[in-house]
Amino acid sequence: MAKQMIEIRWHGRGGQGAKTASQLLADAAFMAGSYVQSFPEYGPERSGAPITAYNRISQERCLVHSNIYEPDYVAVVDETLLESVDVTAGLKKEGAIIVNTAKTPDEIRPLLKGYAGRVCTIDARHISTTNLGAYFPNTPMLAAVVAVSGCVEREQFLQDMEGSYRHKFAKKPQVVEGNLKCLHQAMQEVKG
């Protein structure tokens, strides 16, 4: 069995769209020809409560249907979770954590309980408000995760996402441009 599976864990708060981000990533990897899984961990659903979502991306169908305990990558959609959730639990040191924050990786690292791997940051709030006029952290986070993990080839990703947005927002073309700018900017601005 090929061992090239990439496993990703998302941390967010209910209502922020970590589950949607995980689905978007699955879409992107699917369009690029991979086998994907995207699933949230369901519990009492309350707006603002910590939630977890997962992705598996592989070149063959994923047999395993458990949660992910030793992810290759962790994406943190809300930096306030760093205080309350052990976001680096099981995270492989060859992997990386991607945090949505205005801070730098050096400023974030001390909050990560000694995680020795790569620490990346992305200011999804800034990118989103600049390009979309509102705070939708999903799109910049998605692009940052793709840039850091390499789970989808960059040019293919941008091309597929453009097609997907043009289809999805056929009646709202102005939204398409804003989202595409978010993707490009996030891929360039992710630090670490």
């Binding site: 699955a26 086998y35 899984q37 995207s38 699933f39 249907h65 949660n67």
Partner: protein, 394 residues
């Protein structure tokens, strides 16, 4: 050509329903329903189906409405989950005994209490004696394929029994995975139209449905129903054979995974089987003769066939994802052990209740089960037969 897609289990079932375009879909829309009627409502609104879509006030009523439609000669479907299935309980038995082949999609979830929305088989196992055929799938693909086969099995003249297509709640119902969908016209051609021999409003030969069966008649009706469930076995195999010929994917009563020379094996159902397969693969690499049987058809239970497969093993763990409170093992264990009772040479057998209320089942946990089986196979000592796994110790 199959269509490469990525869908949740709920979307996969809704897609199959759209392709089949049933006459009636009666549904109760609130939790603990599934997203299936929600997706289907969109198809109705978009004019993609011409199904009579009826919103009723409870699950008891949704299945009752389906039975009315079936009795009138229509193809009727519905979907539910958890407490919703329990609330249908009375009507499930009416469906079975009235021999009305309604197809019911179930996202299998725990029953209260404590209150829990996550996956196990508490709901569907509680209805194992209701007279429904029960098909279980490991992932969205199998659930979709089971749905495509469901109507043909249920409606077959020698069967005429209702059928549940079971998917694992959340793990399958809400997870997005790759799937191969079939083209609409090929699905329609495979499933065919429903032309029952008799129905309520057939003027030349009207049918009574749901009569009183006094002691002089009741038993004959029940024996006929039991015979129909036996007949379903051959029909399930025949439909699977045609499915394989048409779409290329192979199904039976169960899937044997690396069982050819297996000395230790698990009997398991649903998505957990995939996770356990990954454990089998790892163990096989280190020379352990581990295998797995994944039950697809729980009703009718393929006892004879399963016993033949398990006869060659030294030790077997039956994995029950519901607690039957029998104090001597869960429902899958009772069936499996019963099936093996007349074997000349039986494997040692234990029951492990696991995964209740969504408690996660991992590759490591599956490997732990095989380690225990290795111990039983080596010593011949079975130890405690009925245990639970994955709970915190007090």
């Amino acid at each position: 050509m199959s269509i490469r897609e990525r869908l949740s289990g709920n979307e996969a079932i809704a897609t199959a329903m759209r392709q089949i375009n049933p006459d009636v879909f009666a549904m109760f829309p609130i939790t603990p329903s599934t997203e299936i009627p929600q997706y289907f409502a969109q198809y109705v609104a978009d004019g993609k189906v011409d199904t009579e879509f009826i919103c009723v006030e409870s699950e008891h009523s949704s299945l009752s409405a389906c039975l009315g439609a079936e009795a009138a000669g229509c193809r009727a479907v519905t979907a539910t989950s958890s407490a919703g299935l329990s609330y249908m309980n009375e009507v499930l038995y009416v469906a079975g005994s009235s021999r009305l082949p309604v197809v019911l999609a179930v996202a299998c979830r725990a029953l209260t209490g404590p209150i829990n929305i996550n996956h196990d088989y508490s709901d569907s196992m509680a209805e194992r004696d209701s007279g429904f055929i029960q098909l279980y799938g490991e992932n969205n693909q199998e659930v979709y394929d089971n749905y495509l086969m469901a109507h043909r099995i249920a409606e077959h003249p020698s069967v005429r029994l209702p059928l549940m297509v079971c998917e694992d709640g959340f793990i399958t119902s809400h997870a997005i995975e790759n799937i191969e969908l079939e083209e609409d016209d090929k699905v329609k051609a495979f499933v065919g139209e429903y032309h029952p021999e008799n129905y309520l409003l057939k003027t030349e030969n009207p049918l009574a449905v749901g009569p009183y069966g006094v002691s002089g008649y009741y038993m004959e009706a029940r024996v006929a129903q039991a015979q129909a469930m036996k007949n379903a076995k051959q029909v399930i195999l025949d439909v699977a054979a045609d499915f394989e010929k048409t779409f290329g994917r192979k199904y039976g009563f169960f899937e044997e995974y690396r069982m050819d020379d297996a000395e230790i094996a698990m009997v398991i159902m649903g998505s957990s089987a995939g996770t356990a397969k990954a454990a089998v693969d790892e163990l096989r690499e280190s020379g352990v003769k581990a295998g797995l049987v994944k039950i697809r058809v729980f009703r009718p239970f393929p006892g004879e066939e399963l016993a033949k497969v398990l006869a060659g093993c030294k030790a077997v763990a039956v994995m029950d994802k519901s607690e039957g409170f029998s104090a001597c093992g869960g429902p899958l264990f009772a069936e499996t052990a019963g099936a093996c009772i007349n074997l000349e040479k039986r494997p040692k057998m234990v029951d492990i209740v696991f995964g209740l209320g969504g408690r996660d089942f991992t590759v490591a946990a599956a490997k732990h089960v095989y380690e225990r089986l290795q111990g039983i196979a080596e010593t011949g000592e079975v130890g405690e037969v009925y245990t639970h796994m994955g709970q915190r110790e007090a």
